[in-house]
Symmetry: C2
Subunit: 142 residues, 2 copies
DNA sequence: CCCTTTTTGAGATTTAGTCTCAATCTAAAC
DNA sequence: GTTTAGATTGAGACTAAATCTCAAAAAGGG
């Protein structure tokens, strides 16, 4: 499996863009985290690591990462978007506990297949999808 | 089937709140629209109808409607939330065309069943869910 | 009518995200 | 190594969604 940085660089080349040290730092930060994180978290972690990058660049780079297919946006019921990398592991979706905030990942091939079927029936070309199930987790449902 | 206003009023009573004319106007506006709409649209439509209600009240009431289960939030890939009523028709989810912005509703009982199964396996008590499939619609996929 | 609680609106505030623009960097061309 | 055009960045202004504050108004129960 190729490294993310390589894939990203390749993608950037097709747009005549370069893999700068800022973009690399953001990429590393996203791939260093398992699961979802928000734009501002990336900004703050980079600041802590003394790899300062402006907020504007964080958002701009996240946009590029999403376009490249390495990262996706996920909506977890909050008023801002989360990001998570998609490369190097199978697709998953989320159970979100509305009490404790815990996010549980799940993946189900059968659901994916049925979704593909729905798209086919509508003549729709799927690029991505997200499923969120909101409710109470095991510990909170008493 | 009971009317929405009745259900809402009942819900409000359990919280010792009243169904005021402002809340009723917002409820009517939401149920007058098929499909999704955004908070500001409700605010503007009410203004046009000379049933002025402040933005604060629109947001507050939408929160109550969501809590009551009559309305749900949907994320359609934009930077703000959409709302749609859930009462009086079967559950559906969305195909979102990332080119023309069209939103196609679909519903699939088999997918729902599998989702319920996933929840059961995790000991998760589902309250709601949303599925979004992003891609190109029939007319945009060429 | 009185009192308490609920409700509202106007506008301030917060927060996520985008935009602007001048300064800097890069890479290729000479 | 210079030049030059285009890419890139950061700081902070800006925008837009959503929330909060607080005083005034309305409602409900005695």
């Amino acid at each position: 499996m190729r490294k993310e940085a390589e894939i990203f660089e390749e993608y950037l080349k097709t747009k005549k863009l370069n893999l700068t040290k800022e973009r690399k730092a953001i990429l590393n930060q996203v791939f260093a985290t398992n699961g979802h994180l928000e734009a501002d978290e990336i900004f703050l972690r980079l600041k802590k690591d003394k790899k300062d990058v402006s907020r504007a660049t964080v958002y701009r780079t996240l946009g590029l990462l999403v376009d490249s297919g390495l990262v996706r946006k996920v909506y977890l019921g909050e008023d801002h978007i989360h990001y998570e990398h998609t490369h190097g592991h199978t697709h998953h979706d989320h159970l979100v506990c509305i009490k404790c905030g815990k996010v549980i990942e799940f993946s189900d091939k059968k659901i994916e297949k049925l979704q593909a079927l729905v798209c086919q029936e509508s003549g729709f070309k799927e690029l991505s999808h997200t499923v969120q199930i909101f409710g109470y987790c095991k510990d909170c449902k008493e």
